[in-house]
């Protein structure tokens, strides 16, 4: 087995969740790498759209911001920000959204806004950006984040975007068109929502343990009865990431 970094591990596992033909609302960093990796392996017909209003991007170099000009050159279409959120996302044309955030709670709700009180913030975070609507309206949402206790509290301090709220039935009552979070890919394993919308440990990465995951989760984490182990990153997946997609390791280095 070739050694790999945590960002590589997370990116490869996120890429495997994507299906051929998916329309994906992409962010920069690891989600962008995951989408490009999926496109070059099992999902050649993946369509990448960016909140900056770019559709069908085929970036020739690694995009370094959400509005990188390489996204535009060679894309199939460009539209206004209002159109990307209204015609594409709100209308229901997006299969997959990627989310990040400082905190993810037991029911997949995300805080990207503030630590401490909203009016007198202890730590002011960037805020929603597109995430409030992506979480509500994309058919499936995936979250990529390192597995640390401070990132996985029982309940988020501020709910920037909706997971399953207080449980799946609560989200169902809101009649949101999107299905909510489907998986949280961390550097230890994969959490998935159970029938009540609670995130439970569904898979471990090779060499990781249940104890490690539990010690780094802020609630009494349940384990699925048939706990899976993810396939280690393949030589081909690592080659594409390292040689083609992020050759200088801007996003993939570090994390051990």
């Amino acid at each position: 087995m070739i050694p790999y970094s945590s960002p590589e591990l997370m990116t490869i596992n996120a890429a495997r969740l994507l299906r051929d033909g998916d329309v994906v609302f992409v962010g920069v960093g690891l989600p962008n790498l995951a989408c490009n990796l999926a496109r070059q392996t099992h999902a050649p017909n993946l369509l990448m759209i960016y909140e900056a209003g770019v559709i069908g991007a085929q970036p020739a170099r690694l995009p370094l911001s959400i509005g990188d000009p390489t996204l535009v050159s060679g894309a199939t279409a460009v539209c206004s920000m209002y159109d990307i959120f209204a015609l594409y996302l709100q209308r229901g044309n997006v299969d997959v959204g990627f989310m990040g955030g400082a905190q993810i709670d037991r029911y997949g709700n995300i805080n990207a806004t503030v630590i401490g009180s909203y009016d007198h913030p202890k730590v002011r975070l960037p805020g929603s950006g597109g995430s409030m609507e992506i979480a509500a309206w994309a058919n499936r949402c995936y979250i990529i984040t390192p597995h640390q206790k401070r990132r996985f509290p029982e309940k988020v301090e501020f709910r920037t975007s909706a997971g399953f709220l207080g449980g799946r039935s609560e989200r169902d009552r809101m009649h949101l068109r999107g299905g909510g979070p489907q998986a949280v890919v961390t550097d230890l394993g994969i959490l998935e929502p159970d029938e009540n919308g609670e995130l439970v440990l569904a898979a471990l990465h090779p060499g990781k343990t249940v104890e490690e995951v539990k010690a780094n989760t802020g609630w009494e984490l349940k384990i699925v009865p048939t706990l899976r182990t993810t396939q280690p990153p393949s030589e081909e997946e690592l080659r594409i990431l390292r040689e083609e997609l992020d050759p200088t390791g801007i996003y993939l280095k570090g994390g051990g």
Partner: protein, 300 residues
């Protein structure tokens, strides 16, 4: 009649202390030259609206131009935290009003269309709607369901950087078109900066590319390289290196002040700034050509 005037004249004429300003552009075409001119002219108590405040508002807030920011994502795009704005918010020195991107852009869309508000489907997230009382809900009179609404945003001044405009202000933009058109139609006054001032015939050769019609524009300023360290599609690249450098600079207020002294107060205009950036930076921002296939409008 030509609307071409200098940028300093345009800011003097159309911007006043206390105004609400929308300096448009999502990552692309951010009008930094105008931001720097506003700093030099010492405007105060501005309400700075932008989906992403970006470095332009970080610098304007550092220069004490702002009383308040209205935003939907307050980060240094691709880098991390937007340190000056963040520190001022945390310290309680700056008012803010916050939306999601869609909420923010819907406000402009309403403003641009002359509507009082814009409806959006609910997201169930809830907390931002509770924190910002300008988010409201109304009942859809047709289905009886609840929709979320935000009020129109009508800035006093919109500042838009464009690839090319004619002297009347007919402006053509390509690449990421963000919210430039909406900002221009929503605002009371519109200031354009342009990489090129072209003959009206150039505009007329490709009317579909005109996003902003001249008759809503007040001032047209010829300012090449006006969006650095942001970029202008087809003209020069984004200066990602500077966005990283700003992350360092903005960790210390004396360093921010030194930056403003050297690169803003110490400069007469954008031409001097571009010259000062020097050949290494110019080379790093140079891009290869990739023209579109031309279209034929036909002669009738």
């Amino acid at each position: 009649m030509s609307k071409v005037i200098s940028l300093s004249e345009a800011i003097k004429q159309y911007l006043h202390d206390g105004d609400t300003v929308y300096a448009a552009g999502f990552t692309h075409l951010i009008p930094f030259a105008a931001g720097h001119e506003i700093i030099r002219q010492g405007l105060r108590d501005l309400v700075l609206a932008r989906a992403t405040p970006d470095l332009i508002y970080d610098q304007m807030v550092a220069a004490r131009c702002a009383r308040k920011v209205i935003f939907s994502y307050m980060g240094n795009p691709g880098v991390g935290s937007l340190r000056v704005v963040r520190a001022e918010l945390e310290a309680g020195h700056l008012e803010w009003e916050e939306y999601s991107h869609f909420g923010m852009i819907s406000r402009l869309q309403a403003g641009a269309a002359g509507l009082p508000f814009m409806p959006m489907n609910p997201t169930a997230a809830g907390d931002l709607e509770r924190a910002n009382p300008r988010y409201r809900t109304v009942t859809d009179p047709f289905s009886g369901r609840e929709v979320v609404v935000v009020p129109a945003l009508n800035p006093d001044v919109a500042i838009v950087h464009v690839q090319r405009a004619d002297q009347d202000g007919n402006a053509q933009i390509w690449g990421i078109i963000g919210e430039q058109k909406e900002a221009a139609f929503a605002a009371r006054n519109v200031i354009l900066t342009a990489e090129e001032i072209v003959d009206e015939a150039v505009v007329r050769s490709d009317p579909n590319r005109t996003l902003i019609p001249g008759f809503i524009v007040d001032a047209v300023c010829y300012v090449p390289y006006a969006s650095h360290p942001s970029y202008t599609q087809g003209y020069y690249d984004r200066d990602n290196t500077f966005y990283l450098e700003w992350d360092e600079i903005s960790q210390s207020r004396p360093r921010v002040q030194a930056y403003l002294d050297e690169w803003v107060y110490g400069m007469k205009d954008r031409a001097e700034y571009w010259e000062k950036l020097g050949p290494t930076v110019h080379a790093r921002l140079k891009i290869a050509s990739r023209p579109s296939a031309t279209v034929d409008y036909g002669s009738y």
